[in-house]
């Protein structure tokens, strides 16, 4: 009799079959992935990350609040009272932005897209000493004067919207600045160094224009 010949059935065949099936299941459950297979998987993941990095550097991601070309000059409100905020779209129709007038009269504009996971950023006057820009999704908090992150998971400050206020109180959006970029840098990058407002924007969150 060869070892490959079928064995004669035993009296307790049902129990034996169950045990054999259990053994087969246990062997089948053993991982057949070798360390070399893991190495191949890790190399594939590594290649994917490298491709992703090159794609990001190439510009596959859209910067929130950053226009493709020269942003238009847009009137966003006739007046914004102290403590109030205004949601608007700038520079494009899909770019959510928020303008805030603080109690001391300071006017500031930011992209309303949180830099963490792109939730909407809200103006909360009751938070902090003078109000905060607050993302309710993951408790992200931004400084209302600078747009920088003061708490929570956002990795960088909010992109800015450059606002000017006319003598009649109307508020206009005239450009944008990226995260970590000053208003002057953003305006001069978009409008050119020779622009008349380029040097006047230095150091101020907004510009109160005397002319039209």
């Amino acid at each position: 009799m060869s070892v490959t010949d079928p064995q004669p059935p035993a009296p307790d065949a049902a129990r034996t079959d169950a045990a054999r099936e259990a053994l087969h299941d246990r062997i089948a459950a053993d991982s057949l992935t070798t360390r070399r297979d893991y190495l191949r998987i890790v190399a594939t993941v590594s290649g994917g990350l490298a491709v992703g990095g090159v794609a990001v550097a190439s510009g596959i991601l859209q910067r929130h609040g950053d226009p493709d070309g020269l942003p238009a000059i847009k009137k966003i409100a006739d007046r914004i009272e102290p403590g109030e905020s205004l949601a608007f779209r700038y520079p494009g129709d899909e770019d959510r932005a928020i303008a805030v007038r603080m109690d001391d009269g300071t006017l500031a504009g930011y992209s309303a897209v949180c830099t963490h996971l792109a939730c909407a950023v809200l103006w909360r006057r009751d938070r902090g000493s003078e109000g905060e820009l607050y993302c309710p999704c993951h408790e992200g908090v931004f400084d209302a004067r600078t747009g920088e992150v003061t708490a929570g998971p956002p990795p960088r400050g909010l992109p800015k919207v450059i606002l000017i206020e006319q003598v009649d109180g109307s508020v206009w959006a005239i450009g944008t600045a990226r995260s970590g970029e000053s208003l002057q840098e953003g305006y001069c990058r978009q409008r050119g160094e020779g622009s008349p407002l380029c040097t006047r924007l230095e150091g101020g969150a907004t510009e109160r224009s005397e002319g039209a």
Binding site: R35, V42, A43, S46, G59, L61, H64, P155
Partner: protein, 105 residues
């Protein structure tokens, strides 16, 4: 009785107690005294080290990708490209760890 865990001499009755390496039917010794121990510890540890190094590099790549995204979003395109170069170099390192010994297992 056909218990699956029956002794070897009952599972393979044609293999005698005197069978061993001289038996041409036996190509692999199979489980026995010392079964489960590493037979080539140096080769095995080198493979484990390669895998550990590759995993470490990939973790560094994950960090690098967050930096690249952050820099790109902040408008620092040049820094983002340096980060992308770092990611590509890291991939080449992992690729080297992978192809350094194709016959290993």
């Amino acid at each position: 009785m056909t218990d699956v865990n029956r002794p070897v001499h009952r599972r393979y009755p044609q293999i005698r107690a005197t069978s061993g390496y001289g038996d041409p039917r036996i190509r692999h010794t199979g489980p026995g005294p010392g079964a489960g121990a590493e037979q080539e510890p140096e080769r095995s540890s080198k493979l484990s080290a390669r895998l550990a190094l590759a995993l470490t590099v990939v973790i560094g790549q994950l960090w690098g990708l967050t930096v690249v995204v952050d820099e790109w979003m902040s408008g620092n395109t040049g820094t983002a490209w340096w980060g992308a170069g770092f990611l590509v170099l890291s991939f080449l390192v992992v690729l080297g760890l992978w192809v350094i010994d194709p016959k290993d297992r």
